[in-house]
């Protein structure tokens, strides 16, 4: 145990230690009728229950003058492994969003639903309503294993279903065991005398968040190497034989702190399906025991691995799991984005089809003609398959039966859900995190800025005869990087309102980090910079060379084999 090396412990460690397995004073906080906020320590603990306390940052100033506390509200995030929900669950979430939240659903890059704007007094009824729909929010945030990211293109092969099931099993295994969630929100009785423990996590859980992704090559829609722990499904002769395991990915950084960096996971080797849970648990407990519990900026697994060295880390995992990694199998990656539109299903569900819709920045709301929320509600009422959030904030309506196909197509068109038929590639493959007005970390706009920025980039590309260029654009309101901007061909990372760092050089496969190109520039400078680059790209690109590859070669001038 190396934990003692890190002292003093961070304040969050104190809070976890004193929390009696995530209870803290949450019950008392909920009863504090004079405030819409939780007590300070409980704002850390609520995360483990799947919620963040936030406030409307645009109202902060005027409310402070008015001697009113900030307009506090809560974001609630679901634990929906692989982002799969039934139509009944969709309708329940839709109703919850309208009744308790701000009337919109937000699809995240981790295949979760988020609702925003729930007030403290209604937290409990909201969580009860979510659970009544057989969805929970346990460990959707906090220093635990988060919602599982699973390759979304299920209809591509029957292997996906197998991977999904194995991933879900791992996720269940890594769930916290505390009954705090059930007692606080679902009125479960506390049974006296039954000792409670966290066999995997221990009483202080992990040093920091922990993210697991499952990819089914050749698609890397989950950005596997951005995960703390990644599993790439290995299919041999049409059979799922096991996984290549990678560890130590993570994109979050801190502006101005050179000790922090984005990092891609290291591939440790191959394991069979039977060893999945043992290896998953071993990686997690190694991080539990060796992660930095003093400085939360340096506590992700990536720093632990770099500190221990990959080989030492790998040996420790092997020792804990009782599994020896086989050499990694060769994997070919072909794409990072989603396949939009209609696709026929795999053989076992004959006649069924799926339809992948473009959802701008993952936000589903009713906005003028684009009555997306209403449209999807209408679809959920007639749909017989399920809904699947993609890791790119888009939505697949999967398992559509032949008899509902025409009706669903009509509803998609009637409610403005047919962006995938109209938008150019650059606007189909963009991502944005939530940022303003609710995210406490945001330094600049992201979700709200994406449509306008996308339109401007589209126009620039048209001006240079590049209208069909498929360039990945990702905007993040801060360097925490929820939209995974450090893997984008064009990445904007918020510095201040209206100002961003411009990153270039991602590979469209999620295998290469991009590089900072211009620091702290405003929109006009971003656009003029991009305009100049597009002009050069239009003239100088080779064959089907992507924009990221081009900028790496000619703009960033990074030599072959050198990691940018």
């Amino acid at each position: 145990m190396e934990a003692s090396v890190f002292s003093p412990l961070s304040d969050v460690e104190r809070i976890k230690t004193a929390s009696r397995l995530l209870r803290g004073t949450l019950a008392e906080s909920l009863d504090d009728a004079w405030t819409g906020a939780l007590r300070v320590d409980d704002t850390q603990l609520i995360k483990f229950h799947g919620s963040y306390q936030q406030d409307d940052r645009e109202l902060r100033n005027e409310r402070e003058l008015a001697k009113l506390e900030p307009a506090y509200s809560f974001m609630i995030r679901t634990r929906t492994p692989g982002g799969v929900v039934t139509p009944a669950q969709w309708l329940a979430l839709d109703a919850i969003a309208q009744r308790y939240a701000n009337g919109s659903l937000r699809l995240t890059t981790r295949q979760a639903f988020q609702i925003h704007g729930v007030i403290k007094r209604e937290l409990k009824p909201t969580l009860q309503a979510i659970n009544a729909a057989l969805i929970d929010t346990i460990a959707a945030c906090g220093d635990v294993n988060r919602n599982l990211l699973i390759a979304s293109n299920y209809d591509a092969s029957p292997i996906h279903a197998e991977v999904h099931a194995q991933a879900v099993a791992l996720g269940e295994h890594l769930l916290p065991r505390t009954r705090a969630y059930y007692q606080l929100w679902l009125d479960e009785e506390q049974i006296a005398g039954t000792p409670e423990e966290e066999p995997i996590y221990g009483p202080t859980y992990l040093p920091r968040k922990f993210k697991i992704g499952f990819a089914v090559p050749p698609s890397n829609d989950v950005d596997l190497f951005a995960q703390d722990l990644g599993f790439a499904a290995i299919i041999e002769n049409g059979v799922l034989t096991g996984y290549n395991v990678s560890a130590g990915g993570g994109l979050g950084t801190t502006h101005g702190d050179a000790r922090t960096y984005a990092r891609l996971g290291d591939t440790l080797g191959f394991i069979t399906c039977a060893d999945l849970i043992k290896v998953g648990e071993a990686v997690l407990t190694t991080q539990r025991d060796h992660g930095n519990r003093s400085d939360r900026k340096l506590s992700r697994l990536k720093y632990t691995i770099d500190r221990l060295a990959v080989d030492v880390f790998k040996a420790e995992v092997e020792r804990r799991a009782g599994v020896v990694f086989a050499p990694a199998r060769i994997v070919v990656w072909r794409q990072q984005g989603d396949r939009f539109g209609w696709q026929e299903s795999a053989a076992e569900t004959p006649g069924r089809a799926s339809l992948t819709l473009r959802i701008q920045a993952g936000r589903i709301a009713d906005r003028e003609a684009a009555t997306n929320l209403t449209g999807l509600r209408e679809i959920a009422r007639i749909h017989a398959g399920d809904f699947r959030i993609t890791p790119n904030q888009n939505l697949a309506i999967a398992g559509i039966t032949p008899d509902t196909r025409a009706a669903i197509a009509d509803l998609v068109r009637a409610h403005g859900l047919d962006l995938h038929e109209h938008l150019p590639p650059v606007r189909l493959n963009s991502l944005a995190c939530v940022a303003f007005p609710t995210c406490p970390l945001a330094m600049a706009e992201a979700e709200r800025y994406l449509p306008a920025f996308g339109a401007k980039v589209e126009e620039l590309l048209e001006n240079h005869g590049l209208a069909r260029a498929d360039i990945g654009v990702r905007i993040s309101g801060c360097p925490n990087g929820c939209s995974r901007p450090f893997l984008a061909e064009i990445g904007l990372v918020g510095k201040a309102l209206g100002r961003y760092n411009l990153h270039l050089g991602g590979d469209r496969l999620g295998l290469r980090l991009n590089r900072l190109y211009r620091e702290n520039i405003d929109e006009s400078e971003i656009l003029s910079t991009l305009g100049g680059l597009f002009a050069r790209y239009a003239n100088e690109r080779e064959n089907s060379e992507g924009f990221g590859d081009y900028t790496l070669r000619r703009v960033l001038e990074v030599g072959a084999g050198e990691q940018p």
Partner: protein, 599 residues
């Protein structure tokens, strides 16, 4: 303790620690308890030895030659009438004493010869808090026969309420029933107090003078002994500058409530927590213009009234009530214009009350179209009265400033918006603007002198204002007693007045407890009285521990509901009957431990 030293001039005086000890013992005692203590100490003194000459108490015969003026006042109007009566009486050479109703020694009533009473009626026929004990005494079987008493009563009220001047009428009848004889007929003063108070004072003082046989020669010389008031007062307000004017409800709230900070530097005005600030408002120019247009009048017309010549525009804008009608004004307007529909309205008590509550002058003109001259309007409309706001600051924290909490008074009448005169003006005041103000003392609403006492403050809406002053004061003096605030409004998110300050006070420990009720944050309406009931047991524990209770805010509903809740809480927790609990609450009020500032 200055008063004590004056009384015992020539005798030994207490100083330093002993004086502080005595002060500490007397702290928190009500007027009645202090009188009892005074009697007790007097008896001890007599037993100890002869009294020094300077401290000879007034002879019993003094009552024969003295006029007693008693007032029962909630907002200070009756007190002011009493003081005017006193000035007038003294100028006539009368020997006068003025007492607040709860300071009146009830046992002296039987010997009283000449008594003037000014008493207001609150809300739905309720007495002012300072008069409850005296009225209970008078209405009880213990009340003495008063064959020697000559008295006169002036009631104050608001004719837009059904039981207009009810308490004055009741008191007047009861004194007569006990055998008293009227010096002059009872007078009922409406919101324009002066109109009735002036003639009453002339009649009452003349009669008292005759009764007490004051030689005519003593005349006005006595007045000159009283130094003319140098400070600012109601009649000589100070033009205070606005330092800050900040909305304190969220922008998406339907309710506009502002926090105002005014500068009193150089005014000489001092106030204590519990006092109110009087504001002399001006009518909004748009309203004046609308009234002129609707009544078909020219604002430039010069009108002379009460020896003053002003344009009609100025009369209406600066000197007359336009937003508050009185029944008296209505009666005169309809008499003058011979409007039968109007006469029928004022003849129907209930209908008239309803009409007054929901309408302003503009509505009256639009509906009844009275044709009156500019001069008639000036003489018929009630003179503009100042508006009182409970002060929301303690000088110990804000120095020369005074802070107010002002809610916009706004009504919809037949689809049109009607504003309250002062709130409309105050909400619009820019920083740097000036507004005429004075201090209205409210001795009935004081923190316990003994700072180790706990206080329970019930102040929903703008009723929270004086409690901001209380908490500031108790923080400044480091009061050891605990503070418990009950607040209520519509929504936690939008209308929690001074929320961040209360949360800070909780954090510092100054506020021991904070309980809130937000009526519209759930399906069922929830008010402070509901929260009081939920905290009943702890409330009674605090009360049993000597806590002082304060209620501030709406008189018509809130104060009644809270009063009823307190009775039921005492009854439920102590297992008393409701009557016993009511009596207990009355006792608390008599001891000065249950005080209300309601409007």
């Amino acid at each position: 303790m200055r008063a004590l030293n004056e009384v015992w001039e020539g005798a030994e005086t207490l100083e330093g620690a002993r004086l502080e000890e005595l002060d500490r013992l007397l702290g928190g005692l009500s007027a009645n308890a202090l009188y009892w203590t005074a009697g007790y100490v007097h008896a001890r003194a007599r037993a100890a030895g002869p009294q020094p000459d300077a401290a000879q108490p007034a002879k019993a015969s003094a009552a024969a030659a003295r006029l007693t003026i008693v007032y029962g006042s909630q907002t200070g109007n009756a007190k002011r009438v009493a003081e005017e009566l006193k000035e007038r009486a003294e100028s006539q050479g009368l020997n006068v004493r003025v007492l607040r109703a709860d300071a009146y020694p009830q046992r002296e009533l039987a010997e009283e010869r000449a008594l003037l009473i000014a008493i207001s009626t609150q809300g739905d026929g309720d007495p002012p808090d300072d008069s409850r004990a005296l009225l209970r005494f008078l209405n009880s079987a213990r009340a003495p026969k008063l064959p020697n008493l000559r008295f006169a009563v002036i009631g104050l009220g608001d004719s837009s309420y059904p039981k207009f001047c009810f308490i004055g009428q009741q008191l007047d009848a009861r004194l007569a029933e006990l055998g008293g004889t009227r010096l002059t007929a009872r007078a009922d003063a409406d919101v324009d107090v002066e109109r009735v108070a002036g003639p009453f004072a002339r009649g009452a003082i003349d009669a008292a003078k005759t009764l007490l046989e004051v030689p005519a020669t003593r005349g006005a010389k006595v007045t000159s002994l009283r130094p003319a008031p140098v400070g600012h007062s109601r009649s000589r307000p100070f033009a205070a500058q606005v330092l800050a004017n900040q909305r304190i409800t969220a922008n998406d709230s339907e309710l506009r409530v502002h926090h105002l900070e005014l500068d009193l530097t150089g005014s000489g005005l001092r106030y204590q927590p519990g006092d109110a600030l009087g504001i002399w408002p001006q009518q909004h120019p748009a309203l004046v213009a609308q009234v002129l247009a609707t009544a078909g009048l020219d604002g430039e017309t010069a009108v002379t009234h009460d020896d003053q010549e002003l344009t009609l525009q100025r009369w209406l804008g600066e000197k007359r009530e336009l937003t508050r009608l009185s029944r008296a004004a209505l009666v005169e307007i309809f008499e003058r214009t011979g409007n039968t529909e109007g006469k029928a309205l004022v003849a129907d008590q209930a209908a008239c009350v309803d009409y007054l509550a929901g309408h302003q002058l503009l509505d009256l003109i639009a509906r009844f179209q009275p044709r009156l001259s500019a001069a008639e309007w000036v003489s018929l409309l009630p003179p503009l009265q100042p508006r009182l706001y409970s002060i929301a600051s303690s000088v110990r924290q804000v120095g020369d400033e005074v802070h107010l909490t002002v809610a916009e008074r706004i009504d919809q009448v037949d689809g049109e918006t009607r504003y309250g005169v002062a709130s409309r003006q105050l909400l619009e005041l820019a920083e740097g603007a000036r507004v005429p103000v004075y201090i209205e003392q409210n001795d009935r609403f004081r923190l316990p002198a003994d700072a180790t006492r706990d206080v329970i403050m019930i102040g929903p809406g703008t009723g929270v204002a004086p409690f901001r002053a209380f908490v500031q004061e108790r923080a400044s003096i480091g009061a050891r007693g605990r503070d418990w605030l009950f607040f209520g409004h519509r929504h936690l998110r939008r209308e929690f007045l001074y929320q961040t300050e209360w949360i800070a006070a909780l954090g510092s420990g100054r506020l021991a407890r904070l309980d809130v009720a937000f009526s519209r944050d759930q399906a069922e309406r929830r008010y402070v009285q509901h929260v009081l009931r939920e905290r009943g047991r702890e409330l009674v524990e605090w009360i049993d521990g000597g806590a002082h209770l304060y209620v501030c805010g709406d008189a018509t509903r809130m104060a009644k509901d809270v009063h009823q809740a307190l009775i039921e809480i005492l009854s439920a927790v102590r297992g008393q009957s409701l009557d016993e609990a009511t009596a207990e609450l009355d006792r608390l009020a008599d001891q000065g431990r249950y005080a209300r500032d309601v409007y």
